[in-house]
Symmetry: C2
Subunit: 448 residues, 2 copies
Amino acid sequence: MTWGDRGVQADRGVQDQADRGAQDLGNRRAHDLAAGLSELGCRALLVVAQSASDPDLAPFLGARAHLGAALLVAPREGRPRLAYLNPMEREEAAATGLLLVTPEELETLRAAREAPEPAAYLAWVMSRALAASGVAPGRVALAGLAPAGEIHSACAALARQGWEWVAGNELVRLVRKRKTAPELAAIRAAAGAAVDVMRALAARLAAARGIPGGHAGSAGGELWLDGRPLTVGRLRGEAARLLADRGVDQPHGNILAPGGEGGVPHSAGSDGRPLRAGEPLIVDLFPRGAWRERPLMFADCTRTLCAGEPPPAVARAHAAVLRALAAARSLAVPGARGWDLQEAVCLTFEEAGYATPLRQPGTTTGYVHNLGHGIGYELHELPIFRKVAGAEGVLAEGDVFTLEPGLYDPAAGWGVRLEDLCYLGPDGLEVLTPLPYDLDPRRWTLDP
Amino acid sequence: MTWGDRGVQADRGVQDQADRGAQDLGNRRAHDLAAGLSELGCRALLVVAQSASDPDLAPFLGARAHLGAALLVAPREGRPRLAYLNPMEREEAAATGLLLVTPEELETLRAAREAPEPAAYLAWVMSRALAASGVAPGRVALAGLAPAGEIHSACAALARQGWEWVAGNELVRLVRKRKTAPELAAIRAAAGAAVDVMRALAARLAAARGIPGGHAGSAGGELWLDGRPLTVGRLRGEAARLLADRGVDQPHGNILAPGGEGGVPHSAGSDGRPLRAGEPLIVDLFPRGAWRERPLMFADCTRTLCAGEPPPAVARAHAAVLRALAAARSLAVPGARGWDLQEAVCLTFEEAGYATPLRQPGTTTGYVHNLGHGIGYELHELPIFRKVAGAEGVLAEGDVFTLEPGLYDPAAGWGVRLEDLCYLGPDGLEVLTPLPYDLDPRRWTLDP
């Protein structure tokens, strides 16, 4: 079985990269997918996608695709086929190198007349894509992201024609857990941009000056830079511009959470909020490679910065988080369970006197979340660090994941998090986001 | 029934905007939703979303939300509730102003232990979110974007407990077809950025110089600017930087398609491709407001530019497309069907001797697509311009949509498309992307 056969001329550099990726896919992923389908008792995988960036479709597409709604049929034996719905996308579909099912074969014009209602149209193209790929009614694994009500109605209608549907999203997540060479290259590129921009933001903070006694009741004076207050929104704007300069975008935004906003890990931070001396700022960047690299992959890294003297509790938490991160990195080897690392980090924190979810599930003070997450086509994918039994929770060579311990005290108004993006390669763990860990951004400029 | 009750302090400007939006929603959308649910015989709407940017969830959220997976339950009578899954998102959830169902009420920790498999976990939180919102088992409309296999399995499992699922995505599309004041403001902001950047790209093309006899077999010489060849990739990079400067991103990329690549409407264009004098370039920008404006809304506009003398066929097509666009605009009034406009444009083109899908369905030469599409939380939403019977194909006051006739000759190697983003307001049709239409970018600089 070969995937992504390259029958079509395309941009040369992209083509070379895609060839290597296709080979990777052909060698390992096709095997993993076939084995997974056997285990589920399915004759094929059907991916229903809204666009080429669907995380279950993108791994099949190779270098380049600008596609709207599309389906992919991967029979347990034989090559996968891409069914596209819009005749205007014929060149983009051809550039994927996949075998194609055309809109004409799907009879989309007839479907628009005879089954215009969205769920009926979806059922129509699903059954025709399967038939055109040589898959007869039977048990099929279903993946992709789809309109919830419409996909359920379509599946229920097709069940009356002999189709039986099995949840296949997790299978595709497992198949794409270990990264191919072009996927890793794209993650490296996005990570490089995040590293550059994190350094630039630290330099801005290092250059800012506190206005003594700025704001009543604040930890310290407001930070000013170039004659203007340095706000969360201003720093967020600079981050967006600098990331765009490097060809990456931020489909899920970012986190720039000062003081108490950083005390709740997923708070994005308020743009109008001024930054203050002596107050920690959590900077969590999770951009996605945009127009320069294909495939489109996420990167993710976090630092906590504090211009001016940090409160003792923050300095102490920062040191504890740094130790926890080092402990987690040392345990991240192939075959380790994510949960083992999470437990080790919890014990590290408990020894230092912080609450953790190990003994206090649901705690909102101390260490309050999981250690990390896989990353790739999605910001959060496999491996996971929860207590689970299966392969989704076991680290393997080729995995890319974050390690991001943190400590939080929302009542006292602070949070500290440090996050490395890691690749578990043939030579061990590699940190893809090499950056200083210092709280004080002025120390960053001393670091080469 | 009131939606988006604002019980929580937030950024003041954002709050004001959200209040107006909530009022709009309260006045009209809640009524439309309740009527739609009645028609479907449903006691509630359930939206299952992967993030706050889910197009079926976002309209309920008001000004700001940084949320991962979440559910929304809108009973036919009573206020909607947001069920969030991650305790770390409590501040972000609270900032939506919606009634909340907490992770504790959903028993997510217990679910992770007792129903760790993704479809079982999903079924768990769906049934608990409904119960916590006072909805007893029965007929429910389902919307949102979800993992296809998992949502189907979850629905099938819940059906055995008395739940009956009806496709609800189209209902939400209809409810959000007419834009609220904050939605329109956000579209205007994104459209303003697209207009600025289109002008900047035209200025770059106007400043470029053709190198005579540049490339063998080309239409004309390659274009150079500042001592370097002007390629698709270079222009695409400038577009990304300039858009980011304005706080918008491009989750679906863009189209910069020269010559033959522009002959197929959805071809994105190859970055390595040099631009040439006398060759039309389709520039189609469809950015989304990013970090400055909430809600996140798309804009969309297209121009066709040609530095140097255009081939006569291209100049003729451009004039015909411009006439078709004017005809479409003049017919775009409340109550008109999108299909009526499409037919009128087809007739305009047929009179000028071009093939259209009206007489030649599936043609790939001439006018080969529909006239436009609604736009908002998604790049493509309602109204639609296909031949359909329902309200989804009828223009109404408050709609925002594109009008984008084009002509294509892939064999001859060219395409021409002009696209206006339009708002059907109380005072008639307003073009949100006011730009020159000239093929020649040097004429753009003469235009104020």
